[in-house]
Amino acid sequence: MDVSLIISNILNPPILFFFLGMTAVFVKSDLEIPAPIPKLLSLYLLFAIGFKGGVELIKSGITQDVVLTLLAAILMACFVPFYTFFILKIKLNNYDAAAIAATYGSISAVTFITASAFLTELDITFDGFMVAALALMESPAIIVGLILVNLFGAGKSQDFEWSEVLKEAFLNSSVFLLVGSLIIGVLTGEHGWEVLEPFTQGLFYGVLTFFLLDMGLVAAQRIKDLKKTGVFLVGFAILIPIVNAGLGLVIAKLIGMSVGNALLFSVLCASASYIAVPAAMRMTVPEANPSLYVSTALAVTFPFNIIVGIPLYLAGIKLLWS
């Protein structure tokens, strides 16, 4: 069953263009999407998903479901970096372990968006407030990571300024635009939706497809770094997402989420950040090696999730929920 889901997932334009991007790198084509176009596409996606989430949130209202989901989101965002840190310490120094743990505690908005497009394809509904969960799960891991560095750091305490760290955690452009668009969606509601619909809805799937072409290029360029990261980390980058998705599923079942919401939640748990957290770690833990945390998240976990993970987790949900 999962295999047929995986294949039907793979035969979608976004995933196929992701492969096309990877292929371009492997065959050494000079295809590239020059800066700042990928930035434009990602701003658009955050804007569109946030706005849509807000519009739907105001329609559903803030129910008990919403509150439970958001609490579960924060819980997982704090727990994941904590437990993975101790796994990572087996092979890595404290700095690298903390940075990677933070990366996996946070989320990847593109993975979330790809999962939501996958659900739309299959006509499975999900709620707008999941976007709020997405926003809430981005930042806590950065804070947890830094606390871990301070607790286990090499004797001397880090001299970074907490104000700068908190700013980077909660006001980085992704979180800011996502939350801002969500709030504007709440404020303008159905009426705002109608006027923006051809832009935020009509183009959404196409922009996602185009953006995944770029992600394929970027992810494939990172693959050569995996030699440096070693087998331990590559294994970590595949197994931990499955474990986290599993934890997510159990929680989702416990608090009674719908199938669509449960998938998005487990995808959030399974995904790792390759933009916001790396930037924060470079600034606050300069001792950690960026190759390690960027490459595992980008070249292993991201492709794994969008190709295999999403349909796999859905298969798991169908099993548990039926």
């Binding site: 360029q221 933009i275 790396p278 930037a279 470079r282 300069p286 960026p290 190759s291 960027v294 980008l298």
Partner: protein, 104 residues
């Protein structure tokens, strides 16, 4: 034409604000900044974080020879902490320093 020192700094764009502050404090009030510089140095390739837009900047500042030591004092600790390189060259200034609206 009178002699000046040319200061060139290549560092991560994250540190740009601090470096310009450092220059300003040591009395160098003019500078030019080129962004999006790729590079390779002691800490490896800038590509390590390129996707997160953490690229290098190239700062050029010409100053009078007297304040060079003050500049070094202000800049060196930043480079030691965050990485980056700094070089000094001798140059001659040509621009007449007279007021702008007085045409030659």
């Amino acid at each position: 034409m009178h002699p000046v020192k040319k200061i060139e700094i290549i560092a991560n764009s994250f540190e740009l604000g601090k470096l310009l502050d450092g220059l300003d404090k040591s009395g160098v009030h003019g500078h030019a900044v080129i962004r999006n510089v790729a590079g390779q140095g002691l800490r490896g390739n800038t590509e390590d974080l390129d996707y997160t837009m953490l690229d290098n900047v190239y700062i050029i500042a010409f100053c009078t020879p007297e304040i060079l030591n003050s500049v070094i004092e202000h800049i060196r600790p930043l480079l030691n902490k965050f990485g980056g390189t700094c070089y000094v060259t001798d140059a001659m200034e040509i621009r007449s320093l007279r007021c702008v609206s007085s045409d030659l």
